[in-house]
Amino acid sequence: MRSITFHQATLEALQEEFRRDHKTVHLSTDVPAPLRQEFGAARIRATPISESSFVGAATGLAGSGFRPVVNIRMATFGFVAMDQMVNQAAKITYMFGGQARFPIVYRMSVGAGNSMAAQHSINPYPMFMNVPGLKIILPSTPYDAKGLLKTAVRDDNPVMSFEHSALVDLAGEVPEEEYLIPFGEAALRRRGSDVTVVALARMAHFAMDVAEELEKEGVSMEVIDPRTLVPLDTQAIRDSVARTGRLLVVDEACRTCGAAAEIVSRVVEDEAAFARLKARPVRVCGLDVPIPFSPPMERYAVPDRKRIAAAVRDLLKR
């Protein structure tokens, strides 16, 4: 199968969906040239730097029968438009009793690793998970990115796509034929029997590396990549933990009230999974600090392979 980058995969997803449905429109401060060329300046709009206005405009467009895709670029720029996402788009279907559909896709890049410092390195998806009315995808491979983004464009609800900046140039197999990936189905990246490692976004790759490394030590790691956080494939995770008896959640986002806390809670509050737990569940997350600029500190602030491996080894001691 051909191999393309994460970036190309998301571009293809939009190209295909924009061809398919002429009600799709694109809003962003910097215009993706291939989209502008193919679909014109009316549908592919370059916006001023005023996120509230164009994020809010997306809601008005959606409520008027269009399917806007908003590329906010770095997730951090979304905070100036926060009300329009969490207080308008997320609640509007509900507040209006379901009388209108609001198909909106927000794309935001996230993640540390490029020395972009505190404001440009955040992973805010846990904040949005706490807001009912938003679907959230978090792809880790070009294949998933394309399939999930296409599903997102067709979804009749606001969907946030968080895309890790360190994955943009990652290449991976993507079929020529069209495909969609449904929301709420985790990817079982690797079967294993000793421990369930739920790893998000970039961390899924780290977890796979660690699994390979630890295999040499006789450790059998199961690696699950949820791919979508809302809805979350809770069942797949619980089932896995019920089999392995051990849970490690790895997430680059900050620990407190993070996605990992939610995943741990969903597992332990399940009778079956709880009963099978052989050891306390463990989280390896981004530290509860703003991301520092200088590389030694930045590397320390987010999980790495070593920390993941250590956590797995520690878990297996019990």
């Binding site: 001023p48 005023s50 206005s53 008005g60 269009f66 279907t93 209006f96 009793g97 609800n157």
Partner: protein, 321 residues
Amino acid sequence: MSTRKELLVEMYVRMITIRRFEERVAEDFQRKLIPGVVHSYIGQEAVAVGVCANLRREDRIVSNHRGHGHCIAKGADLDRMMAEIHGRKTGYCKGKGGSMHIADFSIGMLGANGIVAAGLPIAAGAAMAAQLEGGDRVAVVFFGDGACAEGEFHESLNLASIWRLPLVFVCENNHYGVNMPVREAMAVQHVAERAVAYGMPGRVVDGNDVEGVYDTSAQAVARARAGEGPSLLEFKTYRWRGHFEANTILDLRPRDEIEAWKEKCPIAALERKLVREEILSPKQLAAIDAQALARVEDSVRYALASPLPEPEDALEDVFCV
């Protein structure tokens, strides 16, 4: 009757309907029949009615927290409005929204909004939709003087002007945001002076003169339909009642100021004109009023006869499927 006369009568019907509707809502709120809070539109009827008289069903409006008048002016159904305000299952939003979140997408009423100025970007999107559709639909957004201090005011006027969106910005300057006088909230005299910052026309108009409102917005709507872009209209008006129907916020406005504005009642002014120009007799006026009142009473009966939602209904409509 000539078209102009018909228009005046039609506007009168709408205005008196809003007035009677709002009076009844206030009354029922004080009688604790209505949950939450409601923001009364009494005193500002000429704005919603004068503006919306220029609109077609397929044109879109976006409203704010003080939205009942906009709904009625755009043609919303009183029964379903009243049912929503009473939290009934038959309401526009199945009881999920209440007074602050009434919407009727089928008539282009894209929703009231509890967040000050949040409707402006949404309206820009609705106007962009109209532009993409290629017809001559327009969008109108209603907001208060208080909203003009928010960043979204600026961002939306800017976006609308650079994209020449078919959008009319309607500022209902009732001189206060809660208790903050607009003269303390900005250093210019008129909100509409800010139009120059966006290269769009700005107009300051008596918001209690429904004909003036109609004529001014007719120009702005025509401009929008012609693809010439947005306008900023400021209508000076006043709300008669407190910020909302609840005693958690004191009304600190001067008593005599309130009374003076009541003298400038937009409905009484229109009545005088209709009688003076012999368009309607006092008797006809009274009949229209009685009919409006009856419609409002019907809507209350409808609301009260409607079932409350089931508790579990709370689980529906988070997402549409």
